[in-house]
């Protein structure tokens, strides 16, 4: 057993490895100036756009309001862990950023432009029937309301607002907004700047829809999976042509939460040289340069790095996995340069 004093001593010792921070303040000043400039420009553009939209679009909006809302599409079968059914009505003017899925649920990060120049960002999640009801935290207020014609709860507190409801099939859907925390401390001249916005939250909720299950695609397709290895979870960010970030976890069965046996796979834009990361070159894998070595300061996991096209592909091994096992897994996989998006395939077939 260890003692708390040892923990404190370890923390104190490790705190001394902190960098000196030279140039950080200057970098922050440059960054802040950039943020302010971007907000100013966005505000001007949105203001002009809003004025134009009000002048030209009011009759159109009035006409559309008379029409019945678009019903959410119901998938024709239950989705699998590596499939998505959750989406946002493309006509709603809501941008989807990162998204992901696992056996238990699926989620989207969504962005709605606002007149402040700062996007209203929210998290949309859907869980299958039987998922426990989302409870309110102490201090949160709960109001009964409606979403998509179904009874819904509106939970809100100082920095969080959420709409939760169940669709006709029993799926629990939530749209959650966490405002950037800004306490109204003594002397603060105005309330939180990143304000909550129930109307926008409701707008997002009304745009949530389910579609027929679609397989997630990745720049890798695995061959045979051994020892019960299976899909765990995945998140994808590919909202800009020049940026790809896919994170996928594959799990072994009967894994314990305190000793998880899983392989993590990262695909990120950028060319890497493994030797500069302390890794050792290994023979090319499927024609791509590869390196292998310890994963950071983690003694139980290792890293296999491949340079595939314009992306680096990293396999973080499961504890106890041998070098040959991870090399076999990658050798038997089909690797696709990540810039060839149309050629991506479902990672597990």
């Amino acid at each position: 057993m260890t003692t708390l004093d040892e923990l404190r001593r370890t923390l104190e010792e490790r705190a001394t490895t902190a960098p000196d921070g030279h140039g950080l303040v200057q970098a922050a000043q440059v960054g802040a100036a950039r943020v302010r400039h971007r907000r100013r420009v966005t505000r001007v553009i949105l203001g002009a756009g809003l004025a134009l939209a009000v002048a030209v679009g009011t009759p159109v909006v009035v006409q559309q309001r008379r029409a019945a809302p678009t019903p959410a599409i119901v998938p024709d079968r239950a989705r699998l862990a590596d499939e998505m059914t959750l989406n946002i009505d493309p006509a709603a003017g809501i941008r989807v950023g990162q998204w992901g899925t696992s056996a238990s649920g699926q989620w989207l990060e969504v962005f709605v432009p606002t007149s402040t120049g700062r996007d209203y960002q929210a998290h949309v999640a859907a869980y299958p029937p039987g998922h426990p009801e989302r409870k309110a935290y102490p201090g949160q207020t709960v109001e009964m309301t409606e979403s998509q014609g179904r009874p819904a709860r509106y939970l809100h507190g100082s920095h969080l607002e959420m709409l939760v409801w169940r669709d006709a099939g029993g799926n629990q859907i939530s749209v959650e907004r966490r405002a950037f925390p800004f306490p109204d401390g003594p002397g603060a001249s105005s309330p939180a700047q990143d304000s909550l916005d129930r109307a926008t939250l409701q707008k997002i909720a009304e745009a949530v829809r389910f579609e027929a299950p679609r397989k997630i695609r990745m720049p890798i397709r695995f061959g045979p999976l051994r020892d019960g290895l299976r899909f765990g979870s995945m998140s994808v960010q590919h909202d800009e042509p020049q940026r790809v970030q896919v994170v996928m976890a594959m799990e072994y069965p009967n894994t314990r939460s305190d000793n998880r046996r899983q392989i993590d796979i990262f695909v990120t834009t950028g060319r890497r040289n493994g030797e500069e990361s302390g890794l050792t070159a290994v023979p090319d894998i499927n024609g791509y340069r590869a390196w292998y070595g310890p994963y950071g300061d983690n003694k139980r996991r290792n890293l296999l790095l491949l340079q595939v096209g314009q992306c680096s592909l990293e396999f973080i091994t499961s504890p106890g996995m041998t070098r040959q096992q991870i090399i076999d897994l990658s050798t038997e996989a089909k690797l696709i340069p990540c810039e060839q998006v149309d050629a991506w395939e479902p990672p597990i077939s």
């Binding site: 370890t10 001249s189 700047q193 950028g270 060319r271």
Partner: protein
């Protein structure tokens, strides 16, 4: 107080906290730089708070929790022709077993330990920082200490500070 004065006085503390949270000096710099940028954008309001440092530390903590990967993800344009140097991975055995185990904890648990035993915050203050309940903080701490196999009989901190 001017931002530069605040940053000059508090930057070392923020960096120490950040490096304990993420375990990587380079990533700690990234986190603190991001936090300072956000702070500066709202400095007119933050400087009027009773404890601007507590607020900025909260930004650092949230930045740590929102990062999905243990190591920094670098992105470069697809058109880039040159290789770039990846962050240096520290040697595998440059510290004690306790530090290694700490590094493997889930992020919330690690943050709770750092805030409780290094920053000396009460469970309620940690709860405010993480945006959860004090009971949740105690749960995180309990699980983390169990994972680290730390004796908790002599843990006076939680009770005294709660």
């Amino acid at each position: 107080m001017r931002f530069e004065e605040f940053a000059g006085a508090r930057l070392p503390s923020l960096l120490r906290c950040a490096v304990l949270l993420c375990g990587d000096p380079e990533e700690a710099q990234d986190m603190v730089q991001e936090a300072l940028t956000r702070t500066l954008v709202k400095w007119d309001k933050i400087k009027k708070l009773d404890e601007p440092y507590a607020y900025v530390r909260r930004i650092v903590t949230n930045e740590f929790l929102s990062r999905r990967r243990r190591r920094r993800v670098r992105t470069v344009p697809l058109t880039a022709e040159q290789d770039w140097a990846a962050p240096a991975i520290p040697p595998p055995d440059d510290g004690g077993e306790l530090w290694r185990m700490l590094a493997e904890l889930p992020r919330q648990q690690r943050a709770v330990l750092v805030l409780r035993y290094y920053e000396g915050l009460s469970d309620q203050e940690i709860a405010d920082t993480l945006g959860c309940r004090a009971g949740t903080v105690r749960g995180y701490a309990s699980r983390a200490l169990a994972a680290l196999r730390i004796e908790i009989e002599n843990d006076q901190t939680a009770g005294a500070l709660s």
